[in-house]
């Protein structure tokens, strides 16, 4: 209710604003809104999706120039040209985004910057784009007989476009798509394991970038009715970047505040633009070092500081509510690994490993350091393609499938060194895992936004239930990193179970847990097994392995050296030798290399 009131007040204020402004001031406001739309686009790609896109101003230029060329050269009407311009900008977004499929971070930054330079180079020299002089006499956009040449009237057109653009951006960030984008930004491997199609998501980010750039470009062409190369150069890209960084790149509202604020500051410092530029640069450096989340992140930073001073609260883990047992079904095979070999640059990490796990079993995988256990998990969950051999899941050939597909087929895993998304709350971590849709589901965003909201509500209900089952309700809105390690382990387990898996892979789930937590873990894993899920567990805590597992497979040097019930395996001479270091079957050099390879990944 409070939020609705705030929105209403903001809307009324924005609607009444022109009455208090002079002719020049309204022009400043018009330009500020255009930058705000641009900044939202950059915030979505760079802040939310983590794609370093330094071509946003070029998308802006593509939008504006397309309108200019189509209206002046091809005789199109303004609005027809506008639609085509936005589409063109989106196409450019996709083209510039293609390199993101192959490279990230600074590599992507330099390529997008280079392509932006290529764009300015083209418009500066092409006849059709008016060369250095640019294109003037873009027609006044008509609207039901109203002449939009007045900055006042155009303000309202912009305001409506801006409101829709903002609402859509907020819908995206606060729903399944936005969560997946943020997850991809924080850890694309873990996001893939949760079912996110990384390539498609990266392209989506660039589509959004092109869309917002194009929209801003159209409005710019309609407002100024003149385009020239210098409006779209690197200096303006930097200004835009400064807006987004100062405002807070991962917060859409922060981006808007940054854009509007900096637009006004720029206007105020027009006479001292040299010093202003120096100022922006310094502020950006200071923000990056001292307030990495920008203005939008300041309240959180202050709160965290206060919490540190008062000592903070000790979060408590609730009790786990067991799953309803499901009677064991007929003996079928959940996982069949057949003669899998994995080589890294000639080093053999797995050597003809075979194992068959029947449905509803808890299988332990043990072995000395560097024996290939995690490599085996990486093969089963699709992070590695096996060099030879095959993986069959519930009768279905699954060798070499991408992690997101395996995830949708019911394979869930945890990681040795916890890969929770640190910038997402506990609840969001679970929401992300509960969302089992394919990424192509996002066509509903522009067409059926209310369906998205409905789905989101459903996810929230199921998340609340899951939080309660795992005793995490109390910490639901905390960031994982602020919680004790034992709770983080529990969250990762809950997140894996949120995927309703058929096969659950646990990589050292007891590492770092105390005795009581280990006992709770054992109970949870048993309950998960009783609910019909097959569990494979890598663990060094031999006490836990012996008491929990139905059957144990021992790896050494990438080979299976024993396979059987716990008691049998524990006295197997090869196993004793491998563990206690008798010279019989100590690990070889190759496996250690593989272990190093694994550790440095």
């Amino acid at each position: 209710m409070k939020r609705l009131a705030l929105i209403a007040i903001a809307a009324i204020a924005a609607w009444l604003l022109p009455y208090g402004l002079g002719g020049y001031a309204i022009h400043v406001a018009d330009v500020a809104i255009i930058f705000a739309i641009l900044a939202i686009g950059l915030g979505l790609t760079m802040g939310v999706a983590g794609q370093i896109n330094l071509a946003q101003v070029a998308f802006f230029g593509v939008g504006a120039y397309t309108v200019a060329i189509l209206t002046t050269e091809a005789g199109f009407g303004f609005w027809t040209a506008s639609v085509l311009a936005v589409l063109t900008a989106v196409v450019f977004g996709v083209l510039v985004g293609i390199p993101a499929l192959r490279m990230q971070s600074h590599y992507l930054g330099i390529v997008t910057l280079g392509l932006a330079l290529a764009f300015t180079n083209w418009v500066t020299n092409a006849h059709i784009a008016g060369r250095a002089e640019g294109i003037s006499d873009i027609p006044v956009p008509p609207m039901f007989g109203i002449v939009l040449s007045s900055g006042y009237l155009f303000y309202y057109v912009e305001l409506i476009v801006f409101a829709i653009a903002l609402a859509f951006a907020l819908l995206v960030t606060r729903s399944p798509l936005g969560r997946r984008l943020r997850a991809m930004r924080d850890d694309d491997l873990a996001a893939g394991a949760l079912g996110a199609e990384i390539p498609l998501l990266r392209m989506t980010a660039f589509v959004l970038s092109g869309l917002y750039g194009g929209l801003a470009g159209v409005l710019y062409a309609g407002l100024i009715r003149f385009v020239a190369p210098e409006s779209f150069n690197i200096a303006n890209m930097f200004l835009l970047l400064a807006m987004v960084i100062i405002g807070g790149r991962s917060s859409i509202l922060g981006c808007v505040v940054g854009a509007v604020g900096l637009s006004l500051v720029r206007e105020a410092l027009l006479d001292a633009s040299g010093y202003a530029q120096l100022g922006y640069g310094l502020v950006v450096v200071l923000v990056v070092v001292f307030a990495p989340k920008g203005l939008a992140g300041l309240p959180g930073q202050v709160r965290a500081l206060l919490r540190k001073r008062t000592g903070g609260s000790r979060a408590q883990l609730g009790a786990f509510r067991p799953y309803d047992p499901v009677p064991a079904s007929a003996e079928d095979v959940a996982l069949d690994v057949r003669e899998v070999t994995k080589r890294f640059k000639g080093l053999v990490a797995l050597d003809k490993v075979s194992l068959t796990v029947p449905t509803g079993q808890i299988r332990g995988i043990v072995g000395p350091n560097g024996s290939g256990k995690t490599t085996l998990f990486n093969v089963i969950s699709g992070f590695y393609d096996p060099t030879e051999g095959s993986v069959v899941l519930g009768g279905r050939e699954a060798t070499g499938m991408a992690p997101y597909r395996l995830s949708l087929l019911g394979v869930a895993r945890t990681f040795q060194n916890l890969r929770l998304f640190e910038d997402l709350s506990v609840r969001e971590n679970l929401l992300l895992a509960l969302d089992r849709t394919r990424t192509t589901w996002i066509w509903r965003y522009p067409i059926l936004p209310w369906k998205v909201l409905g789905y989101e509500r459903k996810l929230h209900r199921r998340t609340a239930e899951l939080l309660e089952r795992f005793g995490l309700t109390e910490v639901a809105d905390a960031e994982p990193r602020s919680l004790p390690y034992g709770i983080q382990r529990r969250i990762e387990l809950a997140r894996a179970m949120a995927m309703s898996p058929a096969l659950l892979l646990l990589d050292e789930p007891a590492a770092g847990l105390n005795g009581e937590e280990v006992r709770q873990l054992a109970d949870i894993v048993r309950s998960i097994r009783d609910s019909g899920v097959t569990v494979i567990i890598i663990e060094h805590n031999m006490g836990l392995v012996m008491s929990l597992c139905d059957r144990i497979t021992v790896l050494s040097s990438g080979k299976v050296i024993a396979d059987g019930p716990p008691a049998e395996v524990a006295v197997h001479p090869d196993v004793v030798a491998a563990y206690l270091g008798d010279s019989m079957a100590a690990p070889t050099e190759e496996t250690a290399e593989a272990a190093v390879e694994e550790a440095t990944r």
Binding site: N369, Q488, V576, P587
Partner: protein, 233 residues
């Protein structure tokens, strides 16, 4: 005399407790082993002594030097050689450069490089080869050789047996015994219990970040506690 004294050492990574209230001393010329399963906190203890892991402790001293206050890069000057887990040689540099860097804090004109080559003839043969091109065993020798280059009084070794074939493990054991016999104190952290019992006279057993047992190496090898920790029986 320079005794390495550790009292009340704890290591935390973020919220994870890797080691808790660990205390021991290594007398001059002594050889002390620390064994335990993976994740028991052995490596963290060693890293913390070296200042390479976040630590809290009442005391970490080496002779008159307070290591708690000494920046990590100054330890080697006090005569502490360190052989990191996973060897960590400088892969893109030659064997000779790797060894010379071990003597970074002293003059390169008078280094014990010939002694190292005498102990590990294979390193002498490969002195111009890039360290990254060496086999695992050779890299391990290089790592030990590099630590010898600072003429240490005590050498801290972290899992030197990792990934080595049984024969190489025996070789390493031989070298360590030889060095110890020459007066070098040794602190050996190992998963390989047999190697540790072989090389050291005294041994600590770590479990869940704490010292669970200690005693003479010869006696520990028959201790049921050790078998329980390793095999869960």
């Amino acid at each position: 005399m320079t005794t390495l004294t550790v009292e009340g050492l704890s290591v935390h990574y973020g919220g994870v407790r890797a080691a808790h209230d660990v205390s021991f001393t290594v007398e001059p010329g002594q050889s002390l082993g620390i064994i335990g399963a993976n994740g028991a906190g052995k490596s963290s203890t060693l890293k913390a002594i070296m200042g390479l892991a976040p630590r809290q402790a009442r005391t970490i001293r080496f002779g008159e030097h307070d290591l708690l206050r000494a920046p990590a890069h100054t330890l080697v000057r006090h005569g502490i050689g360190y052989v990191p887990e996973g060897r960590h040689v400088f892969p893109g540099l030659t064997v000779e450069k790797n060894l010379l860097l071990g003597a970074y804090t002293s003059s390169w004109k008078r280094t014990p490089i010939d002694e190292v080559f005498e102990l590990f003839p294979v390193l002498g043969e490969m002195r111009g080869r890039l360290a990254g091109a060496l086999s695992g065993g050779q890299q391990q020798m290089l790592a030990v050789g590099r630590a010898m280059m600072c003429r240490p009084k005590v050498m801290l070794l972290d899992e030197p047996s990792m990934g080595l074939s049984p024969k190489l493990v025996n070789d390493i054991a031989g070298v360590l015994k030889e060095l110890n016999a020459g007066g070098l104190a040794i602190l050996l952290v190992e998963q390989n219990a047999k190697l540790t019992f072989d090389v050291t006279t005294t041994c600590l057993v770590m479990e869940n970040g704490e010292i669970a047992a200690s005693g003479a190496s010869a006696e520990l090898s028959d201790d049921p506690q050790v078998r329980r920790i390793y095999l869960g029986l």
